[in-house]
């Protein structure tokens, strides 16, 4: 595959490291004082282990690890490998966490 890094241009996918599903939502941090209940544990287990694994468009995290080291969110069709969109993960994360900041 050839992936277009938002910063470096098109590169062979072997320059990138794959992490996987970018759609899983990380549960909110648990306040250290309170004990961890089953519901919390279940939420984290879902986040850590369970995936949609779709056949079709898939939003996934890649890092241009042998290049600029930017993390990217790549939308890719898992049936054809066609790449539909590439976005810098950090920009998306900033938008997502604007409130936290």
């Amino acid at each position: 595959m050839r992936i277009e890094c938002c910063h470096c241009g098109v590169r062979g996918h072997e320059e990138f490291a794959y992490l996987g599903d970018a759609t899983v939502v990380r549960p909110a941090a648990v306040d250290p004082g309170s004990p961890i209940d089953d519901a919390t544990r279940a939420r984290w287990a879902q986040y850590t282990y369970v995936r949609d694994n779709p056949a079709g468009p898939h939003r996934e995290l890649w890092q241009h690890v042998w290049g600029c080291r930017a993390w990217l969110v790549v939308t890719r069709d898992t049936r054809t490998h066609a790449i539909l969109k590439v976005e810098p993960a950090r920009d998306l994360a900033l938008a997502r966490t604007a409130d936290e900041a």
Binding site: P27, P32, H81
Partner: protein
Amino acid sequence: MIDRTRSLAFMFDGRRYQGYPGDTLASALLANGVHLVGRSFKYHRPRGILTAGPEEPNALVELREGARREPNTRATVAELYDGLAATSQNRWPSLRFDLMAVSSLIAPVLSAGFYYKTFMWPASFWEKVYEPLIRRAAGLGRASGQSDPDAYEKAFLHCDVLVVGGGAAGLAAALAAGRAGARVVLCEEDFELGGRLLAENRTVGNRTGAGWAAYVAAELAALPEVRILKRTSVLATYDHGTYAALERVSDHLGEPPPYQPRQRLWRIIAKHCVLASGAIERPLVFGDNDRPGVMLASAVRTYLNRYAVAPGRRAVVFATCADGARTVADLARCGVSVEAVVDPRAEVPPPMKAAARAAGARLISGGAVRRALGSLRVRGVEVRTADGAIERIPCDLVCVCGGWNPSLHLASHLGARPVWSERLAAFVPASLPPGMAVAGAANGELGLGDALAAGARAGLAAAADCGRAGQSLDIPDVEPEETGVTPLWRVRASRGKSFVDLPNDVTDDDVALAGHEGFRSVEHLKRYTTLGMATDQGKTSNVNGLALMAEFTAKSIPQAGTTTFRPPYTGIAIGALAGHHRGKDFKPTRLPPSHRWAQQAGAVFVESGLWLRAQWFPRPGETDWLESVNREVGAVRTRVGICDVSTLGKIDLQGPDAAEFLDRLYVNGFKSLPAGRARYGLMLRDDGFVLDDGTVSRLGDGRYILTTTTANAARVLQHMEFCHQWLWPHLDVQFSSVSEQWAQFSVAGPRSRDVLRKVVDHQYDISNAAFPTMAAAELTVLGGLPARLFRISYSGELAYEIAIPAGYGEALWHGIMEAGSAFDIAPYGTEALGVMRIEKGHVAGNEINGQTTARDLGLGRMLSARKDYIGRVMSERPALLAPDRPTLVGLKPIDREACLRAGAHFVGAGAEPTAANDQGYMTSVAFSPTLGHWIGLGLLAAGPRRHGEHIRAWDPVRNGDVAVEVCDPIFYDPAGERLRA
């Protein structure tokens, strides 16, 4: 195209022959009257030469000798060179007389898949008797079994337009795109450009076909942005315009010239691709159609027209398509008598009639060859005439043409299925990979004129799409030709064996049997009969095979469909896919700053990851490694030693939110870490298991220096980047690896301070009071060189880690050795380092193995309750909190002489070593010269509660079974006075 001025000597099966430059081994053998070239896979039938190209199923030989021997080499593509030596395969004792041929006698028993039905009794016989027999009988050529002496190379090639194939269509495409100024790469598998133009007796405009090809080649060669790669097969299509191509740089020579590789693998990245790979002719399925002398009509024309070789004297032409006429004409022109033209069509088209008449050949319309006669070479054919009469016609050459199959492999590698064309009675490409166009015979445009026009169109369009508009080529006119075909999938009521797949000896009966037993899908047909699975991948047999299956199962051919097309298009040497990266160059080698010194000091080195590290430094007189390592440990424990620890990952972290970032990253807190101090830290993965450990030092200017283990350096940096960019983007931190920038040496031992005093510039006070344990400072050494000093001890002694810009590393090392000579300083390697960390009960890679939690490692107390951190929630899962989880302990042999081994499993003292009694295992061991016996660390169920207990360390794979005492993992100076001294 053959240069008769110079002759080349070559050998086949030990006999000497002569050929000429421009010959292939096949054409040269034919010129020398050699038609018997090999033996078949299963029945060991005599086999000759069927084709003149890469699709050759039969003429496979062992090329070259010794370590360079290449089994299964197609004689039809092997270029002749002076001194070439080839040997026939799969026969014993000789090619003409092959005892294994008896297998034909029991052929009926050896029907498709017979081996699934027998060889089952007794079970033990399979490995001992049956399988060895089958393996020896199977297989074709012999590998050399020796290391390949030649070099290979890989290279990248970027272009606008990749043209696959240098025949009429490909040349036209390259010319159109090249003239437009596009960056063009033209790959031609053959050693000459021209494709069928070299093989056919025809004209293009006012030139011969070959002449036109040469003329275009010359113009292409002159275009600056056009690159012509001959002897280069495009092997595979991959995603997003990536293609793999193999250039046979030196295969046409005895051996590669100096500094040249044998072959070069090109990874071609192309915006567009014009697939002009031509078409492959189909043989016909009739009795004993495998006899040497039965040859594709197109191949016969190639040998006549290109190589000036007559593959026989008396020919019979058995044709179902237009090429029959061309073949008859060429044969006659070259003085080969055409005994008969057998055309199954009742209504034979006029050109064929004319050709036969002109050649004075008898035309048998509506007839069919039901059998080829002869064994080591055809002697004649048995023909069934339209009225059913059987006639024998003597001949020594049978030219067969059953129509053409476009070479569409590269169009289908991404999964697209070709579609059936009734007009051509062949599959043609349908949907194409993005950026690919197909032109010429590869697209079913069989006529020369059509091929030229289609090629030019495709080349022009591709260039235009890359922003290089050009003018359309004016196509020289060529005489029109008829390209019709009336398919004949097999000759019914044949005599003898009718082969569909020659190399794997698959007959029409086998296809029928497969259908009969339920293997009706073409994929089942292939797997059950092995049709299409040999070295030629069924280039000449697949379509005949699936057509027969369609017939037997009363399906249409498109319903039957094709099998899956897979790379590579033709076989590629595995060495070429490895290129430069073999032997010592398999992976690059990382060298730490003290490497040169260590080499001169005669160190023994060990690979750790990509690094090469000094394992120990033997001294004259020392006889075994343990002696050296004990001495090195002794030196550190009693005096002082120095060890290169530059391989640790080092990360420079800055920014206002640095402390917050660290707090979330590590399980323990860092907000409270004051400047000038270091702290040990532990990181978890999201799933709660330990990721890595290391130290964090806060320097004067408020920046932090993190160290990681050598093994996890890359993974930790990646993890931090993930956290920073994806989880906590709003934190104002910046970090980058400084692993390469800083050499770092551990100076350890009671005298280490004395040594460093002489190295560190005097204005800096490194006294115990001023610079206590876990102190960190930026300072200068050796009169002004910038350095960093950390009072960190891995060995448990008074110890420091001193860092300096890597270029000064050697200087600092020498400086320390010099300053240390007064104290008899000793360099020590990874072994001694390991011994001392075990004596101190520090965990390392053997314990932090991705399967252990902080609690398992006795580090539970580090888990902060005052903050959140990565992995916290998942580390609290019930199974990970279970009190009986294997947990870190120390172990000593009861018999102090006994030796411990990592990997041994623990069982209770009296208990049997069974799965039920498995209580953990030994993670690390060392001989402790300090204690005078072996010691170990291990993970033992409920370990911490069992100190003092005696258990077994069971190690059957090394015949070990040692009684050990469970103890605290810290064997040496548990109170830690020495390092605070």
